[in-house]
């Protein structure tokens, strides 16, 4: 499996440490075209959007999903992947059918840690909230009943930061999806 973390900006180093050995930092569309799994890290989504302009990376992410690859976005990464972004509205890839509201808990002093259902450790930093979940979207984890980890096919999104904890179960789920996607394409 070839895994990469989009390293334009954000906590890409933490994701690299959370992925199986051999994962690499990627900063170009060409590098994404060589991957089976791409992680879009946490960070500032407005900054990432500026750096995406004219880079061809958004198209490369679409190609990755279309050819059976897996994409996982946390926090800012989830905002980039969403179908719709509010608070304020901004451009997004529309690769997972959810509506996300930015900075929906408030400022840094409102950042918090909580145990999720199932019992993943949840680190929420100036976190977005998932305000709407489309019919094709599966909810994999909740906090106080609201969705915080979702999946639509091979696209995963989390509003919290599993990469900032020592618990590797969420990355494990995503990595396992790469294997499943491969078997499915081999069967075809």
């Amino acid at each position: 499996m070839r895994a990469g973390v989009l390293a334009l900006q954000g906590d890409f180093a933490a994701h690299l440490a959370a992925l199986p050995a051999g994962a690499t930092e990627v900063r170009t569309a060409a590098a994404i075209d060589a991957l089976d799994l791409l992680v879009l890290p946490g960070g500032e989504s407005t900054t990432m959007l500026k750096l995406l302009d004219g880079s061809g990376i958004e198209e490369a992410v679409r190609r990755l999903v279309a050819r059976g690859g897996v994409v996982f976005g946390t926090c800012a990464g989830a905002i980039l992947l969403a179908a719709e972004v509010r608070g304020p509205a901004q451009r997004s890839f529309g690769l997972i059918d959810v509506t996300v509201e930015r900075n929906a808990f408030g400022r840094q002093v409102d950042s918090f840690e909580a145990v999720l259902e199932p019992d993943y450790p949840g680190v929420f930093i100036r976190a977005p909230r998932i305000r709407r979940v489309g019919p094709g979207v599966e909810v994999l984890a909740r906090w106080k009943g609201e969705p915080v980890l979702v999946r639509e096919g091979r696209v995963f999104a989390a509003t919290f930061h599993p990469e900032l904890t020592a618990d590797r179960r969420v990355h494990g789920l995503v990595v396992a999806a790469v294997g499943t996607a491969r078997e499915a394409s081999a069967a075809r």
Binding site: R27, G42, T46, T47, L51, R107, Q108, V109, S111, E113
Partner: protein
């Protein structure tokens, strides 16, 4: 020790999110909007940019509350603000305003020549400047969630930031070569807590993100700091004292992301207008250096 109102993980967590980015000094909402539009990962609110503080003199304080609010209302990216060294009441006010990160900064006039702020006592994270590893570890022990080089702010001269980053990283490399019994003596020499010295000896890195600041004026300066080990870059006077702030700000943002790609650096370094006027460190005079404030 963790009687802090917020766990260190949440504080360093925000610092992690700011990695690979540019934090820009702004004095009002208009500048904050320009910074956000250019791709800044956060803005730093202050009363005057360092070059003006240096030129005008007088006591430099925390940004006025109305300005902080105006900047917070203007952008969605994190808003940082500076407090004077040791001025925990300015810090309490900024925390009450909901500022996302506080810079206990030598750029402002120190409020306390003996003590820095007890940063464990706050829910809001702090960044502090350092010239060497001992200073960095003392600030971390006080609760700082991010370290930056001090450099020499307001000069447009990167030489001091380079010196401080090289000093911190080479001291860390040296620690990794020591035998366990040598660490206590080193802790004494550095004036830093033994446990933190031992941690750095094991990992070869600071336990919090390590950013660069002080004198960065061009995309090449920013890329240089990244290659020396900085995980992000603060730009103070370098943007709004240049002739074309928005273009320069965008260029520095791209330079920090693509610091390993000289072709991108060449591309973004063209057509930027004039950089801020620079100052030679030797001509400033010992008494006018900002980096010697704090310990």
């Amino acid at each position: 020790m963790d009687a802090s109102p917020a766990p260190l993980k949440l504080k360093t967590g925000l610092a992690e999110m700011l990695k690979g980015g540019v934090i820009m000094d702004v004095v009002n909402a208009d500048q904050a909007r320009i910074a956000e539009r250019a791709g800044a990962v956060a803005v730093m609110a202050l009363e005057r940019v360092p070059a003006d503080i240096r030129a005008q003199g007088g006591v430099a304080r925390m940004s006025p509350v109305a300005k902080v609010k105006e900047i917070q209302a203007a952008v969605t990216i994190p808003v940082m603000a500076k407090v004077r060294i040791g001025h925990f009441m300015e810090a309490r006010i900024l925390e009450a305003l909901g500022v996302d990160f506080i810079d206990e900064s030598e750029v402002l006039t120190p409020a306390d020549e003996a003590y820095h702020v007890d940063k464990h006592a706050f829910a809001v994270p702090f960044v502090c400047g350092a010239r060497d590893l001992g200073e960095a570890l003392r600030r971390i022990a006080e609760g700082a969630a991010m370290i930056r080089t001090k450099g020499e702010a307001g000069t447009g001269n990167v030489v001091e930031a380079v010196r401080h980053m090289r000093t911190v990283t080479s001291e860390m490399r040296r620690l990794t070569t020591l035998r366990p019994e040598e660490l206590m003596r080193t802790a004494k020499d550095l004036g830093a807590p033994y446990e933190l010295v031992r941690l750095v000896a094991q990992t070869g890195r600071l336990p919090v993100p390590n950013f660069a600041a002080g004198g960065i004026a061009t995309p090449a300066d920013a890329a240089l700091m990244m290659s020396l080990g900085a995980e992000s870059v603060f730009v103070g006077s370098g943007i709004f004292k240049s002739t074309d702030p928005e273009v320069r700000a965008k260029a520095i943002v791209r330079a920090v992301t693509h610091w390993q790609d000289a072709k991108v650096l060449a591309e973004v370094s063209e057509g930027l207008g004039e950089a801020m006027p620079g100052l030679e460190i030797g001509k400033i005079g010992e008494g006018n250096l900002l980096q010697t404030r704090g310990w």
